[in-house]
């Protein structure tokens, strides 16, 4: 068992003061901090192996290609893809979803078809579908969310029909932390023949995910939310579906041969990786996967659940603090409001105490509307947080109430 201090020691950014107070980073749902091993992997890539990949015979290029492809294999193993080729490197979860929207949905959908999402989606899992609807004439259906922040299963079921061509939902909500029953939802969707997309941006940094077991068609991953670098993420897709799909962008590396008369696409996954990819980003993500494997999802989840229940207790004990969407099955996210104190002011005052939380609509405006709010405060945890962090959060909120409440 690794100690709290040992884990926290691996994250250099945590060891700094903000305005004289030790930083308490509670914004991991926006992006996680990076362990030293990830930073070192990037540095080492640039200092030793930096080269372009796939087409080079020289040593650096071979090393870079191997590191990049090894990272693909690491991700495939982590999320239980059936082969490395099912993992496509993209910029992040947003690009993964747009790739599906433009590469799979746009050429296939038409007037009368329906796309089903939920009320708790991140804008990245709403807007790409709105764009596809606009482009194809399909329409967007939205399953309701219960008062406790869980998905309204009846609403979800009642919206599934013969017309539902695609179903897309968050594995874990970024705004309130709800964990959706991915496998169950995919089974329901499949009964009506719909293609399934799971937005796993908030999942893979926190809990074991198995793509093959969930049995969805596509799974979107965000590297920077799972201890990896910015600018890298993955679309995991069933091989047969990826094969059928048109490419996403045109350019180098995604083609077999090019002539002005005819161009032949390369194989999956290269067909979807036009141009020089974020090589160092993939290498860093590979290191992040190693980090997760080393710590273990078991440790990560246990720690986060501990922090969550501790956090709920601390916040509930403060007069005027209200938890938003605190469902049973919840990841390490505390969404809350403070009576008479606007979230934006809470954010500023907490920052002044060295406590970093996020405030606003969390790119989930429709969910905010669902709760009749324009904004909330959000404290989100990762394995490097401690119960002292929660205490600091509680004290800082009380300070905010003192100043403005």
């Amino acid at each position: 068992m690794i100690t709290d201090a040992a884990i926290s020691d691996m994250f250099p950014a945590l060891h700094q003061s903000i305005g004289g107070k030790k930083l308490v980073y509670l914004d991991s749902a926006a992006t996680t901090q990076k362990p030293q091993c990830v930073i070192d992997a990037i540095t080492s890539f640039y200092e030793n192996d930096n080269a372009n990949i796939h087409r080079g015979v020289h040593t650096l290029s071979q090393r870079a290609t191997k590191s990049y492809e090894d990272a693909r294999t690491s991700v495939a193993n982590l999320v239980g893809a059936s082969r490395p080729e099912e993992v496509i490197f993209v910029r992040g979860a947003t690009e993964a979803i747009n790739l599906i929207a433009q590469g799979w949905a746009r050429p296939r959908l038409c007037d009368g078809d329906e796309i089903l999402i939920t009320e708790m989606e991140h804008h990245s899992n709403i807007v790409p579908w709105q764009m596809v609807c606009e482009q194809t004439g399909a329409s967007l259906k939205v399953a309701k969310v219960n008062d406790d922040g869980s998905l309204d299963l009846d609403s979800f079921k009642s919206l599934l029909s013969e017309d539902t061509v695609l179903v897309s939902f968050a594995h874990v909500s970024n705004a309130i932390g709800t964990i959706n029953p991915a496998k169950e939802l995919c089974t329901l969707a499949k009964e009506v023949g719909a293609t399934t997309v799971v937005d796993g941006a908030q999942a893979t940094g926190h809990m074991q995910v198995n793509f093959t077991e969930i049995d969805c068609d596509f799974y979107a991953i965000s590297g920077h939310k799972m201890f990896g670098p910015t600018g890298i993420g993955c679309l995991v897709g069933k091989y047969s579906l990826l094969e059928e799909m048109e490419p996403w962008q045109g350019g180098g590396d995604m083609i077999l041969t090019v002539s002005f008369e005819e161009t032949v696409w390369n194989e999956v996954p290269f067909k979807f990786e036009a141009g020089t990819p974020n090589i160092a980003g993939a290498v860093g993500l590979g290191a992040a996967v190693n980090f997760i494997n080393e710590i273990g999802y078991e440790t990560i989840s246990t720690k986060e659940q501990e922090l969550l229940s501790c956090g709920r207790k601390v916040l509930s004990s403060i007069d005027g603090v209200k938890l938003i969407g605190a469902s049973e099955d919840n990841s390490g996210v505390l969404a809350f409001t403070v009576n008479n104190v606007h979230p934006h002011d809470v954010g500023t005052i907490l920052d002044h105490s060295g406590v970093a939380i996020r405030t606003g609509n969390h790119c989930a405006e429709p969910l905010m509307n669902r709760f009749g709010l324009s904004a909330t405060c959000r404290a989100s945890f990762s394995v490097y947080n401690t119960t002292e962090d929660i205490d600091r959060l509680g004290v800082a909120i009380q300070e905010a109430i003192r100043i403005l409440g």
Partner: protein, 146 residues
């Protein structure tokens, strides 16, 4: 790091908690809506003006302490001013918050926001009402601080 007390001066928190000019102006001649996507705030500014003079002005909508207090104090200070004077005040206020190269002369009620300059993420909160005012006066009706 700058002092939080510079941001939340008593006059600011007082107007934030008890805004005097919240509501809608009757017989309104100008209306503008503003939006700060950063905090989700939306604001509606209504103005009753005659012969280029602002007879009454109010704001509506929820916002953070800084944006509420700023809207409230803006409304108080603009009553009786001409539209041209209002624009000059806006420029002064904007300069106060963003330009530390030259000292800007502004009325005391606006000067309480000088602390905001040290909190760059909050400048948009303090100026939202003013941007909305300008768009109302220029009649395009929509403002955003992003």
């Amino acid at each position: 790091m700058s002092d939080l007390r510079e941001l939340y001066l008593e006059m600011v928190t007082d107007h934030a908690k008890n805004p005097r000019k919240r509501g809608k102006v009757d017989a309104c001649t100008h209306i503008g809506t503003g939006h700060n996507p950063l905090c989700g705030d939306k604001i509606v500014v209504t103005i009753a003006a005659e012969n280029g003079v602002i007879n009454d002005i109010k704001f509506d909508g929820e916002g953070c302490a800084i944006s509420t207090a700023s809207a409230d104090l803006m409304a108080e200070i603009l009553i009786g001013k001409t539209i041209d004077e209002a624009k000059i005040l806006f420029n002064g206020f904007h300069g106060l918050l963003t330009d530390d190269s030259q000292p800007t002369e502004v009325p005391r009620k606006l000067a309480v926001f000088s602390g905001v300059r040290e909190f760059p993420m909050r400048v948009k909160c303090a100026t939202l009402a003013w941007h909305t005012l300008i768009s109302a006066l220029e009649n395009d009706g929509e403002a955003t601080t992003e």
